[in-house]
Symmetry: C2
Amino acid sequence: MSVTETQPEPAAPPSEKTRLRRYNWLAKYDRDTINAIIDAGIVCQVGYVIDGMPYVTPTNHWRIDDYIYWHGSSASRMLKAQQQGIPVCFTVTHLDGIVFSRAAFNHNIKFRSVMAFGDAELCEEDLKRNALQIFTDRLAPGLWDYARPPTEQEWKASKVLRLKLDEVSAKVSDGLPEEEAEDYASARWAGSIPLRLVQLSPVADPKLAENVTMPDFVKNFRYGSRT
Amino acid sequence: MSVTETQPEPAAPPSEKTRLRRYNWLAKYDRDTINAIIDAGIVCQVGYVIDGMPYVTPTNHWRIDDYIYWHGSSASRMLKAQQQGIPVCFTVTHLDGIVFSRAAFNHNIKFRSVMAFGDAELCEEDLKRNALQIFTDRLAPGLWDYARPPTEQEWKASKVLRLKLDEVSAKVSDGLPEEEAEDYASARWAGSIPLRLVQLSPVADPKLAENVTMPDFVKNFRYGSRT
């Protein structure tokens, strides 16, 4: 696909909730930027309210088109609450570095984050099965066909929730110090130390059956290029 | 210090909120484990409720003794709400790997996470100043003395919140697949791909003044050993 074929979607007008107030020059509202940040991670944080109290649960997520999906056990307290269609706050954050500044209060982090608000929605059976298959193959292409398929019992014990990406915004910091004009002239060093999530060599389960070899989807796994 | 001198604190009886129900064999309630997970990160997620709606804000955190601290601008909507002493849910999560299992529904992630509940508390002036200095020197030892000190205006523009670690639990997965007994015998590979957050070489601010050299706290910075 040539570059000219890729038209970024126009920036959606943010809602009052998703409009960034603090550091608003870091805000991004275009869907390509938002999707790339969501797709770069596999662990999100979902916030919700039960009996007036805040809960934040780290969980796996994946995106299909304009929806974020997450899953869990049918017995999960979080999912039992969310399947009622309650409001949730979805966030994903990537820590990309530490920024040292000339002024003590300007140290910062380099990061990419997305925040989305909306009502959770329980996926019905067909959508659930399709979404879980897509999730599995996103983790590693070919993983769904390789693994032992779920039993009906296992299907029943699993739920999938989703959230439509309507009220959503991203925040991207470039890692450069932001200083007062007079501080730039000072004889102090400033800059950043980038951080990266890297993968190490695969580790086989000690309980592996004899003569089982590592499948290609493990050999070829690249964390940063799953999508 | 010899091994016998290090007595882990007894596991606190978890509250109904922090008692892990799902995957409860991964639960850890001892303070050493909890502190190590908190201290290994610099970005947490704080959940809170405004007008009945859930909000989750990624922010920097640090721990001093039995308190988690975070900071922000005095003008921040989050801090203005939290300084009233409202309930918050603090979480920190480290993604340590991806676990491939023999059964499609047993894929998992290797992770360490902490969750804490309580009421946020606004730090008064002396505590705020002390806590921010400790935070800065935790980022890199010597950073506080090296940087241009905050003006009274900057001090005024900053707030620090904290949360006492009373209702707190950790969850640690070891990265081994957990399978049905019959699946272990199958001719399918299972294992994990570890993930690590690593640091790259420092990048100097392009706006550096002439003849400014990199300070030792940058040269010696090691992300994993800040505390």
